[in-house]
């Protein structure tokens, strides 16, 4: 079967592969030009660049909210342009997204928001309950299960958004300015959370323009400028500074890292 062969071949290219990708909104100018890169499994990248450089547009391509105007995008080895509309949802379930404005459903409780990605898959309510409570406990929101998102602080809402993004154990995790609304200490904690997920095998891309954070974390950086992409290696020491160590310790004490257990539960 040629299709299978193609899938196998593409799987070697990693989680994401872009080839001469261009994107424009309607008939406007191209906001992304000639992007060619690939992201391997369990890689971790920051996506940086000035405002309006196209970071959000690139993320939209990655979470399948838009299709490219030209070029080839493969996600988990599948050419996104040829995926029938019917099969899109299954592919989207492999991608977790923390939106810049969270996009929580304000009429639903925290619990229901996080449960949503599992509910749409038709999982049994008992199983859903167990996983959601475990994850919300893990992100420190066990006491807010029934709260509406609007009654929470920005940082808490962000954690709900993150919990929703990771509850179904996506293979690709995208975050758009996840540190935008929170102070540095919380930002560091969130990044450690992403690192933890990355260690479990999730490919992570974080869009940010917080350069200090990027350099402190020492992860490869993709820099978008005027629609074109440049790759940078690790620009600062990957090892922790005193500052981030403190945050890390705090993060771990606050959120007992039982995620491996959660992962086991979800995959079983």
């Amino acid at each position: 079967m040629p299709v299978k062969q193609q899938t196998k071949q593409n799987a070697a290219d990693g989680v994401v592969r872009f080839e001469n990708v261009g994107m424009r909104y309607g008939t406007g100018p191209e906001v992304l030009r000639d992007l060619s890169f690939s992201l391997g499994p369990a890689s971790f990248h920051f996506l940086t660049g000035p405002s309006g450089a196209g970071k959000s547009s690139l993320l939209k391509l990655l979470y399948l909210a838009r299709l490219p105007s030209r070029g080839l995008i493969t996600l988990f080895g599948r050419d996104v342009a040829t995926i029938p509309r019917r099969d899109m949802p299954e592919l989207r379930r492999e991608v977790g997204v923390v939106f810049q404005d969270f996009r929580l459903l304000n009429h639903l409780s925290v619990f229901d928001n996080v449960a949503l990605p599992l509910r749409i898959t038709g999982l049994r309510e008992g199983t859903i309950r167990k996983h959601v409570i475990e994850l919300l406990t893990w992100v420190g929101l066990a006491d807010n299960l029934d709260a509406r998102p609007t009654t929470l602080s920005g940082g808490q809402q962000q954690r709900v958004a993150i919990a929703r993004a990771v509850i179904s154990r996506p293979r690709l995790l995208l975050a758009d300015e996840p540190t935008g609304n929170v102070d540095d200490a919380i930002a560091m904690r969130l990044l450690y959370l992403f690192e933890e997920l990355n260690r479990l095998g999730t490919t992570v891309v974080i869009a940010t323009h917080n350069d200090a954070l990027v350099s402190r974390f020492g992860r490869p950086r993709m820099e978008l400028e005027a629609g074109s992409l440049k790759f940078h290696g690790v620009t600062a020491a990957a090892s922790s500074t005193a500052d981030s160590d403190g945050s890390k310790a705090e993060a771990q004490s606050k959120w007992p890292l039982t995620l491996p257990k959660l992962a086991d539960n979800l995959s079983s």
């Binding site: 949802p89 009429h107 990605p117 749409i120």
Partner: protein
């Protein structure tokens, strides 16, 4: 599998102003449809009754001629009966007694004894054989030859006029039901489109976390089904109550003045099904509307 009576709502549809009116509008439609359909059904029953009563009968009228005496007229009636009875297809022919005719004319002519002496037309009640009817035209001609002044009425004119009237009323009722259904469908389409527009962002989030179109459509479907069933159920009950009330009013009148308007048990069943059928149509409409709209989204 779509669960019509349970399940969660991820879209706050019940708060939409566009869908809040849905039970009321659908209720109104169901009420109108119930009355129109009940009207059509009882008219059909009435027509069938009349038709049955008239189709097996013909009436022959023998008019008194000039200064003819009663006996002479009666003799012509006897000739007419004899002519009728030798015609194939006629089961029975009997003269209606003069006293009965006088009784029928009583409201106009009074009860005086001399009414009997007036030159009253004589009537012959003819019953046709069930499976074989005579050639009415030929019979009419033959009768007129043998018995001057005899005319034959097979009620055909009356029957065809009645038939036309009732059929027109039935078509009208069907038209009302059809228009009501179209209006209800339009209401559901607009309410659903309104809901889609209001909740566009939520639907987009549902899509992005991997919900199928059916998952979103299911929310609308169940919402529309419940609301229509609620409004339609109440309206259907009101419709049936109205009909029962009308029937009771009709029964208080002199039954001789009104033909009986009856609704069969199975016809009652049809009326009770209206809200359910309406809700199913509404649900299907909502699904189609949502699926078509979502197909245009990425």
């Amino acid at each position: 599998m779509l669960n019509l009576f349970a399940g969660r709502f991820d879209l706050p549809l019940s708060r939409d102003p566009s869908t809040k009116l849905l039970p009321w509008i659908v209720g109104l439609m169901v009420y109108l449809a119930t009355l129109a359909l009940a009207g059509a059904l009882s008219l059909s029953g009435l027509l069938a009754d009349w038709n049955q009563g008239l189709s097996s009968k013909i009436t022959v009228q023998v008019m008194p001629l000039g200064d003819e005496t009663g006996e002479e007229t009666q003799a012509r009636v006897t000739t007419a009966i004899r002519t009728l009875l030798i015609t194939p297809g006629i089961a029975e022919a009997k003269s209606i007694p003069i006293a009965e005719i006088a009784a029928m004319l009583e409201p106009w002519l009074g009860t005086a004894a001399h009414v009997m002496e007036l030159p009253l037309p004589r009537l012959i009640d003819v019953t046709l054989e069930e499976d074989r009817s005579p050639d009415i035209e030929e019979l009419s001609k033959r009768l007129a030859e043998k018995v001057p002044g005899a005319t034959l009425d097979d009620h055909q004119f009356w029957r065809s006029q009645l038939f036309k009237l009732v059929r027109s009323l039935e078509v009208l009722a069907a038209l009302v039901v059809g228009l009501v259904a179209l209006a209800a469908i339009a209401v559901v389409v607009f309410a659903t489109r309104g809901g889609l527009a209001v909740h566009r962002e939520i639907i987009e989030v549902l899509h992005l976390i991997g919900a199928h179109d059916e998952y979103v459509a299911d929310q609308f479907q169940r919402h529309v089904w419940r609301n229509c069933l609620r409004g339609g159920g109440v309206a259907g009950a009101l419709g049936v109550t109205t009909l029962v009330g009308l029937r009771q009013l009709a029964e208080q009148l002199d039954p001789a003045l009104l033909p009986t308007i009856e609704v069969d048990p199975w016809q009652w069943g049809t009326l009770i099904l209206i809200p359910i059928i309406a809700s199913l149509i509404a649900m299907w409409t909502a699904k189609r509307t949502v699926m078509r709209a979502l197909a245009r989204m990425v």
